[in-house]
């Protein structure tokens, strides 16, 4: 491989930064999930909804399930973090927030490179993912 080829096949700095952040984020979230799941199942923190109620209702639609287990929707789980079952949402949220965090770093990189087309795309993606995460859409009550 010539030096020119070697340069061309190298990933961009933005790609490397994105990859590095992702690898840490994913394994941290998986670790969090395993720890919180252990806390939940070992009953170290009491659960908000009894496991038997969950197993009796998980064949019902989400609205009926939320009603039966008296569970919140949207970001309501944050107020129940002292409960073993809702503690698990930290791992889910961290995993699902990883892309937004990585995009913020990407946006910074594109702006510093004056790559305005991709800076706008990155900004719009952050906006789309933030709206999805906010709970403003599709978190209709029960």
């Amino acid at each position: 491989m010539t030096t020119k080829d070697e340069q061309a096949t190298k990933p961009s700095q933005n790609q490397i930064v994105y990859a590095n952040m992702l690898v840490v984020g994913v394994w941290v979230s998986i670790f969090i999930m395993m720890v919180t799941y252990f806390i939940y199942l070992a009953n170290i923190l009491p659960a908000h909804a009894d496991i038997s109620i969950i197993t009796q209702n998980w064949d019902k639609g989400v609205n009926e399930f939320l009603h039966a287990t008296n569970s919140p929707h949207g970001w309501g789980w944050v107020g129940l973090l002292a409960k073993g079952d809702f503690l698990n949402y930290i791992g889910f949220a961290f995993l699902a927030l990883m892309t937004i965090i990585c995009y913020i770093v990407l946006l910074k990189g594109f702006i510093s490179q004056k790559d305005w087309t991709y800076a706008v795309i990155a900004f719009l993606e952050i906006a789309v993912l933030s709206v999805a995460a906010s709970g403003l859409l599709g978190s209709g009550g029960h």
Binding site: Y18, L106, A122, E125, G138
Partner: protein
């Protein structure tokens, strides 16, 4: 003397799939799934789900398909969970797998950030609409979603079976949109021992396809690698390796927006989600190791067969025919 071919990895895993499909795990799940299994202790389902997803993770890697596309039809067909929760967890499973695969693909410059970002914006926006539409239809009647899921899965098996991807498509002239976005790159092909330059064409048509891909991914919680690859490779002219890697990375963005919609709606139950995510990820790690020594072609055909059966089962369930139990 024992014939060594009998014990080849391909045969071994072929037998494993046959065992898997006829195994007590599936049989038990199916039988209890019909009744909800109320007489079982609470820990029974997480354990059986973990084992199921671990095997699914191995098979998904070997068959070259995403975890989500296997998870949703199989778990909704054989486990007692409502389709709302299966789709929510299916997206988390696909998201975790895509996020875990992303770093390696980006570092090797196989997944292209420049190719991913514009189409990811389209797919992730429309996956929100897909997720909302799916949840709305499910609230009207879950059988609508089951039927549509069954039809989609059967269409996916046809696509997996008959789509003839091209290793290195010839793109003579790049279109103006592709040029404006800088949709080109170079990667090192280990097999050929050369660097491969690529660029895209038919960018607008490709971007339109990502509207449909986003809606389907969000609606059924499937992930969408099965659709991303043909669009990037056959329509837009990206090399197969770049298409596969970029598709996997794309899923991490598309599935994030839909996953948030399902999560905010309450469709992610930790008791189901964590054994599924961890089981599938561990299975994928094992699958990657086995892949290095196995010939996965037969496995791929068997998994497509299983997927076809799962699609038929979803159709059967959705239409209330009761032909498949």
């Amino acid at each position: 003397m024992v014939n060594s071919r009998v014990w080849s990895p391909g045969m071994l895993f072929g037998s494993m799939i046959a065992f898997f499909l006829t195994s007590p795990v599936i049989a038990f799940a199916t039988e209890l799934g019909a009744t909800g299994g109320p007489d079982k202790p609470w820990w029974f389902w997480p354990i059986i789900l973990f084992i199921f997803c671990f095997i699914l993770g191995i098979l998904a890697v070997m068959a070259g398909v995403g975890g989500g596309v296997l998870y949703v039809p199989l778990v909704s067909g054989f486990f007692p969970f409502h389709i709302d929760f299966v789709r929510g967890v299916g997206l988390m499973v696909a998201l975790a797998g895509a996020l875990a695969a992303g770093p390696g693909l980006l570092r090797r410059n196989l997944a292209s950030l420049r190719l991913s970002l514009p189409v990811a914006l389209i797919a992730s926006t429309f996956s929100i609409f897909g997720a909302m539409l799916g949840l709305y239809l499910s609230s009207l009647n879950p059988d609508i979603i089951q039927t549509c899921l069954g039809a989609t899965i059967i269409a996916i098996t046809m696509l997996l079976l008959f789509s003839k991807n091209t290793e290195k498509p010839v793109v003579t002239n790049q279109d103006a949109i592709g040029m404006a976005f800088g949709l080109r790159g170079t990667y090192w092909d280990d097999g050929a021992g050369e660097s491969v330059k690529w660029k895209t064409h038919r960018t607008l048509a490709g971007m339109f396809m990502f509207v449909i891909i986003g809606i389907v991914a969000g609606m059924f919680g499937l992930g969408a690698g099965w659709a991303n690859v043909p669009v990037l490779n056959l329509l837009m002219g990206a090399p197969l390796k770049v298409s596969v890697a970029t598709s996997k990375f794309l899923l991490s963005i598309t599935d994030t927006s839909a996953a948030w919609i399902y999560m905010n709606r309450g469709c992610v139950i930790p008791l189901i989600a964590i054994p599924s995510i961890v089981g599938l990820m561990l299975g994928s790690l094992v699958g990657v190791r086995i892949l290095a020594v196995a010939k996965p072609k037969m496995i791929r055909y068997m998994v497509i067969g299983v997927l076809f059966f799962a699609g038929l089962k979803a159709l059967d369930k959705g239409l209330g025919l009761g032909l498949l139990g």
